[in-house]
């Protein structure tokens, strides 16, 4: 386990209104950290602050490059007539090269990700036709395409039924283990936190506290 991110004495503000004060925590590779708290406590704002402050190292110290961090937003504007195939959509995540076409290595990489996220059967379908659970797997797969070391998932399971939630989190856990990934997962679902979380960063009353869940490492 190596340290990915170290936050010390960070104040999270929105339009000069303080949301969280003096926040400190660390994020390690190979772990799932759930970020929990009531609506409006500043979970998403915290993430945006972390990404915005990437270059100023005072309070937010990332040990990885900016393009090794991927954020999966809560909402995406994908209509049901969205035409691009799932495979092509995942390929959009490959942003580290300039060539207009994908290299052999990149093609293999995409194929492997499609395999491991269980999307092989529908990879040629347009993304607009996929179910909600499938779409979330696709977003996850796109984020994995660039081989990130930290993945931030914003309420990714909010619109899913309970089976799809558990399936997605199982998949996330298996990828964490395989790729030594660090994941921050904003969620409202206490059941998922207990079942899958390694750490819980709970935000309430303008403070954040980090706890280990279940005692395993």
């Amino acid at each position: 386990m190596s340290k990915i991110l170290s936050v010390k004495g960070l104040n999270v503000e929105v339009e000069n209104r303080s949301l969280i004060s003096n926040l400190s925590f660390d994020i390690y590779s190979n772990s799932l950290t759930c970020v929990t708290g009531e609506n409006g406590v500043g979970k998403t704002t915290l993430i945006k602050t972390l990404l915005k402050d990437y270059h100023q190292k005072d309070h937010v110290d990332f040990k990885i490059k900016r393009n090794q961090i991927k954020y999966i937003p809560q909402f995406r504007n994908i209509d049901d007539d969205y035409a691009l195939s799932i495979k092509n959509f995942i390929g959009l995540g490959l942003q580290n090269k300039f060539l207009p076409w994908l290299s052999m290595k990149e093609r293999r990489q995409i194929d492997a990700i499609i395999q491991s996220t269980d999307l092989s059967k529908i990879k040629k379908e347009p993304l607009g036709k996929a179910s909600g659970g499938e779409q979330q797997r696709v977003y996850f797969a796109q984020a994995l395409a660039s081989q990130p070391r930290l993945l931030i998932m914003d309420e990714t399971t909010a619109s899913l039924d309970k089976y799809a939630k558990v399936d997605l989190l199982k998949l996330v856990k298996s990828i964490i283990k395989k790729n030594h990934l660090a994941v921050m997962f904003i969620t409202h679902d206490p059941g998922l936190v207990q079942q899958f979380g390694d750490y819980n960063l709970h935000i309430a009353d303008h403070r954040g506290t980090m706890n280990r869940i279940g005692g395993q490492d």
């Binding site: 990404l51 900016r66 393009n67 991927k70 954020y71 999966i72 937003p73 909402f75 995406r76 504007n77 035409a83 691009l84 195939s85 092509n88 959509f89 959009l92 995540g93 490959l94 942003q95 090269k97 300039f98 060539l99 207009p100 040629k124 379908e125 347009p126 977003y139 796109q142 984020a143």
Partner: protein, 264 residues
Amino acid sequence: MLSYAFMQYAFVASFFISILCGLMGVFVVARKTSFFTHTLSEIGFSGAAFGVFAGISPILGMLLFTIISSLMIGTVGNRMSRRESSISVFSAVFIGLGILFLSLANSQSSYATSILFGSIVGIDFNDVKMLISLSIFIIIIVLLMYRKLAYNSFDSVGSSYNASYNTMISIAFLILLASTVSVTAQVVGSLLIFALLTVPASAAQYFSHTIFGMMTLTFLFSLFGTWFGLYLSYTTNWPVSFFIASIEGIIYLIAIIYNKLSDD
């Protein structure tokens, strides 16, 4: 038919316009900026009229107007540009300005007609040369920023968090679009170029689900429309714009029906 030089130029010009539509149209449709493209063609009309009024060439006036408005949209009002009401306001104001400039310049209304509707059978070798240079220029720029442009166009939310130079890519695209509209409008008119930039690409996305496939189909649809339209116009003496617009419309209709049938 092909023994006439003006017909040869028209066919060659259509080929390159189709390349531009394949390359740009797919992104225009993915970015949901079809209506902005429409507005852009009217801004172009206004700019050309201004060019005539100010005594500079119409193409310079067009480039000036369309690029400045693209920069404005790209920096301050990307969301605003998609709102229906602001699009109507923009269209109305710019068409009004265009008419004003033309009347101030004492130019006949036939000139307005030629900017709006173009005359693909009235172009000369210089127009063709300009089109070819523009096509090469746009192909190179699009290839250079292809991955970023594709991410930005097909996943605007995801790329806004995860891609670098995102705003710059949007602005660069709008400038390319402005140049495309301005230069091609000289040849086919600003109304038809709007149709060619949006209709074939909208149809293509019902048949193909890869970016490359959509571009190829868009190119083929607009090539078929312009070439067949030229042929029909030559034989019937009816306006070529009518045939091109109708053929593209029919292709779109077929695409919709195909989509309905394959859904059931």
